[in-house]
Symmetry: C2
Subunit: 283 residues, 2 copies
């Protein structure tokens, strides 16, 4: 039986700390504020927005919603974005992507104030994660993995870490962050040959394959810690599942995050923590 | 007996191609120009400057030397830099660092036009390597390793590559470049436990440990390709040596770069290739 690394417990501890920080900021006259920019009414966006808003409310962070119709023009979108980008009272911006097809997110991402880039989507934030310069913010999901390890006292220093996935949203940044914490990292991807032999060498395996229930028992050995970033709706089982075949992997390894209740539960807390960090810096 | 991967041969092939490219550019009225900014008379700087100038001359790239006295003020340095940074006739800038202690290179690096950052020292270039966005240039030494593999037809795709070193000048960028070429990369560093067992898993080992003759037979196995980035003067042996103990490693592995005559021989050709690439883009 593996230890279950509960993302909910990690989030609860994080939220408690953040709530205290917001109290201090408010006492100093600063009202940390998250702006959420949404175009249209996509179900995924609405669901994430509800989660982030609820989390922000409970921690005491204000939310400013900017909602634009799905047929908004590029010019109107850029104007609405510029307003929050230049608003001193906004400390962080979450913009849902992908945008509708007629819109281009590039000029918006390029114009975004790196200090407000709480979701880590700008070039400045990417460079910050790569260079460990302290500029910008890491993508929230990547940092959520690190928060889980930190919470459970699993120190990557000197350990071998295998990361499945090399995307800029999760695989690459979480690999860099693990390296900055002195792990010896190996990055696996679709061109990796005999991936199970690679992941078996590791002490910590972070799975962001992007394919539901594809990573089974053959990838693991006893003693390992497994962080499953994947999340998707399994139509057959009628439940949310990760990239890892939980039922067959859990009996093998030492510790594992569940899905749901794992990495995904920590992400919005990390997002809100970035708003607070930004408010502290701008203060 | 390992195959010797001769940097000189790689450079010769590269120079031939570059010479033809410069001819075409000149026929189109473009005169690719490298500006070299040097403060003081450090022996290392002078030596690299001589090598780069000679290489540029032979390829047909013009060199504009900006030499400032060691006691130059920050203001004068920034003015001299701004002149070449804004000069349309300059396509690339090489600035020797470290600068004398009373000077700060940060504002200069921050101001540098990414298109002219042929040595890959700006944040934009670092992000470009990490994100594979095509912006900026990779550090020349990192790219020299890739040029050697390319020249000898060693395709990293699906292979395991171990990189010793995680600096922003060589370890980290060469790891990213190997990953972009579809290798499964592992980054080793000073906190790696039992490094020889890690490097032995790899098909390609790139050594940038930064410590002369420290990587011996125990790190390698038959069949491997070894790229030795290190270079230093061995006082005892009265010759230049790499980080790898060449005499004991060469008999084990499949292919290896010598020192001297390896990676270092390719670096200035890569630098000049960046000037030419920049001239093409600005053209």
């Amino acid at each position: 039986m593996a230890k279950i690394l509960s993302g909910k417990d990690v989030a609860a501890a994080l939220n408690e700390r953040l709530t205290a920080e917001v109290k201090d900021l408010k006492a100093a006259g600063i009202d940390p504020t998250l702006a959420i920019l949404r175009v249209g009414e996509r179900a995924d966006d609405l669901s994430y927005e509800r989660g982030a808003t609820k989390r922000a409310d409970s921690i005491g962070v204000a939310v400013k919603n900017v909602v634009l119709p799905e047929d908004v023009s590029q010019e109107e979108l850029e104007k609405a974005f510029a307003d929050i980008n230049h608003d001193d009272k906004v400390h962080g911006i979450l913009m849902f992507r992908p945008l509708p097809k007629h819109l281009d997110d590039k000029p918006i991402v390029a114009a975004m104030d790196p200090a407000k880039d709480i979701d880590g989507i700008t070039v400045g934030s990417a460079a910050g994660v790569y260079m460990k310069s302290g500029e910008g913010f890491a993508p929230c999901t990547a940092q959520a993995c690190i928060e889980i390890l930190d919470h459970y006292g699993i120190d990557p220093r000197g350990k071998r870490a295998a990361i499945i996935g090399r995307s800029l949203v999760i695989g690459r940044p979480v690999a860099m962050m693990m390296m900055h914490k002195n792990a010896t990292i190996t990055i696996c991807h679709t061109k990796t040959v005999d991936m199970p032999s690679v992941t078996k060498e590791a002490d910590i395996v972070i799975v962001a394959a992007g394919k539901m229930e594809t990573i089974g028992a053959e990838y693991f050995k006893p003693g390992q810690t497994v962080i499953d970033v994947g999340i998707g709706w399994n139509e057959e089982k009628q439940k949310l599942c990760g990239d890892v075949k939980f039922d067959e992997v859990e009996p093998i390894v030492d510790a594992i995050t569940p899905v749901p209740g794992g990495v995904g539960s920590v992400t919005t807390s990390v997002l809100i923590s970035h708003v607070i960090d930004s408010a502290k810096k701008l203060a």
